[in-house]
């Protein structure tokens, strides 16, 4: 039905496969997702505005995006370091570390949440060490960042690793023969080549961090106007049967996230053009 020229579908099953795909995708994803704008726009504009401009909403959104950006930035550095070490060095336990990198993908967020909360609680293994230094992690925005660094850790490692593996040895050698020092060669030669992968990983960690819930709520303390994230506020509004407000906050979250990811994509496109030009 989509054929441009009367090309036979040589391999069978097009109708069935596309039918299942579209039907399932529509029923499970598209139709339900359409409920958000539907429910949000059912609210009178001034009521919707009241929800968005409520200081508690503004704070929750700022907190979610702020902590997610910060955590993604930490992950960009940490992830690049880990990828570098895993690709470049041979050390005992390398394969184990490599496998462990994906732990945040496999470990349920609630488990990570209570475990991080236990670690950083004032009487926890790490909280006890940090308390004398005047650093409080648990029940503060810092705790949220720690949780988001955990869940976003694998993204940058996994996007940068293949690029480093494929990095042309000749490019580096050329830099070396031109007399560049290691740090200079890294900055001028290696970094520009892995930058798109770092940015891609950053974007994924950011997207994940913005919406993260399970690993955050145990360590965050969830104080309104202090450490209450946007997803939690949505859940709270739902529990109050305020579906409209929940939908409005969700819509605001999706809109901001979309704008951020679009900006990152534009940056990537600009960077590509700059290199190819």
């Amino acid at each position: 039905m989509f054929a441009r020229s009367p090309s036979p579908k040589v391999i069978p099953g097009f109708g069935l496969a596309l039918g299942i795909t579209l039907a399932y995708l529509s029923l499970v994803v598209l139709l339900p997702l359409a409920m958000i704008p539907l429910a949000a726009f059912r609210l009178a504009p001034e009521r919707a505005w009241a929800v968005v401009s409520d200081p508690r909403t503004v704070h929750a959104l700022a907190l979610s995006f702020g902590t997610a950006l910060l955590a993604a930035a930490v992950n960009a550095v940490l992830g690049t370091l880990l990828a570098w070490v895993l690709v470049r060095y041979d050390f005992p336990g390398r394969r184990l570390v490599d496998a462990l990198i994906d732990l945040p993908f496999a470990l349920p967020t609630a488990v990570a949440g209570i475990s991080l909360a236990a670690l950083y609680a004032p009487n926890g293994w790490l909280g006890r060490l940090l308390a004398p230094l005047g650093v409080t992690v648990a029940y503060t925005p810092l705790g949220i960042v720690v949780a988001l660094v955990f869940v976003g850790l694998p993204f940058v490692v996994r996007t940068v690793e293949p690029v480093l593996e494929a990095l042309d040895a000749e490019v580096e050698e050329a830099a070396a023969t031109l007399g560049a020092s290691w740090s200079r060669a890294f900055r001028r030669v290696v970094l520009p080549l892995i930058a798109p992968a770092v940015l891609a990983g950053f974007a994924m960690a950011l997207a994940r961090g913005v919406g993260e819930y399970g690993s955050v709520i145990f360590i965050a303390g969830n104080l309104p106007m202090v450490s209450e994230i946007a997803p939690l506020l949505i859940a709270i509004r739902l529990e109050e049967y305020n579906n409209g407000a929940a939908a409005v906050i969700a819509l605001a979250m999706l809109a901001i996230a979309f704008a951020l990811l679009l900006a990152i994509n534009l940056l990537q496109a600009w960077n590509r053009r700059r290199i190819e030009a």
Binding site: R4, S5, P6, S7, P8, V10
Partner: protein, 326 residues
């Protein structure tokens, strides 16, 4: 089986040049025909259209006079050998060869033992006995090629179609397989079409060669005739090194090896200066500059060139033994 292609037209992307642009040709039963042309000429598209792997916009393909437009690739009973063989990597060689029989509907499917026996028989035919239990990844390129061929033959196809059958092999194996394919064809008698961009391969192997360019048939003829009487400038230029000369009587094509080097002043010859010599094993390529400053290439055997005694800078005559005009 006789194959007729009539006015075949196929365009992949709207607005682009058609891959097949009104191509017509007929292949006789039992014939071995080469589809020769530059890359992008539409020869592979034609082969895939015959197999039912591509559809036509217009035109017809007939097997023994019967239009196959409505027939699925599955029901055309063609043996197709893919350029990269497309062997099933998770099956043994024997399972690959037996696949076509093992997927037949229960009513016509031979018993397992019979399928295995048939597969072994075909593997013997392609000189691969003893390789039954191997996997494709454990075979060389030439061996894979022969497994692909045995697999295609297993369904007893009405026509055998081979897409660049020797394209992925190195020169030595290529030559060997070429001779062997000819022998196999003579033994089994399948109507066979193969695609190639290598003129030597086409001329050496085929009963007739179809030269295809820009989706059209330029000429189809036995190799000797194709060479002696090219029907179009394209065919002439595509087969071997050719000089294109602008003469008062129009454009003339002269093959490099149909030029003799003769002493200066030879009647009915062109005055020329020898400007470069390239020796390529037993053959020598000589570049000549004519009085018009136009350069042409002549080709002769190393012995013949040595006998002339000419060197770079020599003044001489170029006598054209044979020319082609269109």
């Amino acid at each position: 089986m006789r194959i007729e292609i009539e006015n075949a037209v196929k365009t992949f992307e709207r607005g682009e040049r058609p891959a097949l642009d009104g191509l017509s040709m007929t292949v006789a039963d039992g014939e071995l025909v080469a589809l020769l042309g530059p890359s992008g000429s539409g020869k592979t598209t034609l082969l895939r259209a015959i197999a039912g792997l591509e559809g036509l916009e217009s035109g017809a393909i007939r097997f023994d006079g019967e239009d196959v437009a409505g027939l699925d690739a599955r029901d055309r009973n063609v043996g197709f050998v893919f350029q990269h063989y497309a062997l099933f990597r998770t099956m043994t060689v024997e399972e690959n060869v037996g696949f076509g029989l093992s997927v037949r509907p229960r009513a016509t499917r031979p018993p397992k033992a019979e399928i295995a026996a048939r597969a072994r028989e075909l593997l013997r035919l392609v000189h691969l006995e003893g390789y039954e239990r191997r996997y494709p990844a454990q075979l060389s390129g030439g061996q894979r090629q022969r497994v692909a061929l045995a697999r295609a033959l297993a369904i007893d196809p009405g026509v055998l179609l081979l897409d660049e059958p020797f394209g992925a092999l190195d020169a030595q194996v290529r030559k060997e397989l070429r001779r062997w394919l000819r022998e196999l064809h003579d033994r089994t008698g399948h109507t066979t079409l193969f695609v190639t961009h290598d003129q030597e391969e086409a001329l050496e192997l085929a009963d007739r060669v179809a030269v295809i360019n820009a989706g059209k048939l330029e000429q189809i003829a036995p190799p000797a005739e194709l060479y002696a009487h090219p029907a179009t400038p394209f065919v002439c230029e595509f087969l071997g090194a050719v000089n294109r000369l602008d003469t008062p009587e129009g454009i003339v094509y002269v093959r490099a090896h149909e030029i003799d080097l003769t002493p200066p002043g030879t009647p009915h010859a062109l005055a020329a200066t020898l400007v470069a010599v390239r020796a390529a094993g037993p053959r020598v390529h000589v570049e000549l500059e004519l009085s018009s400053a136009r350069r042409i290439e002549a080709e002769l055997s190393a012995e013949a060139f040595a006998a002339t005694g000419y060197a770079v800078g020599s003044a001489l005559s170029a006598r054209i033994r044979r020319k082609h005009t269109f």
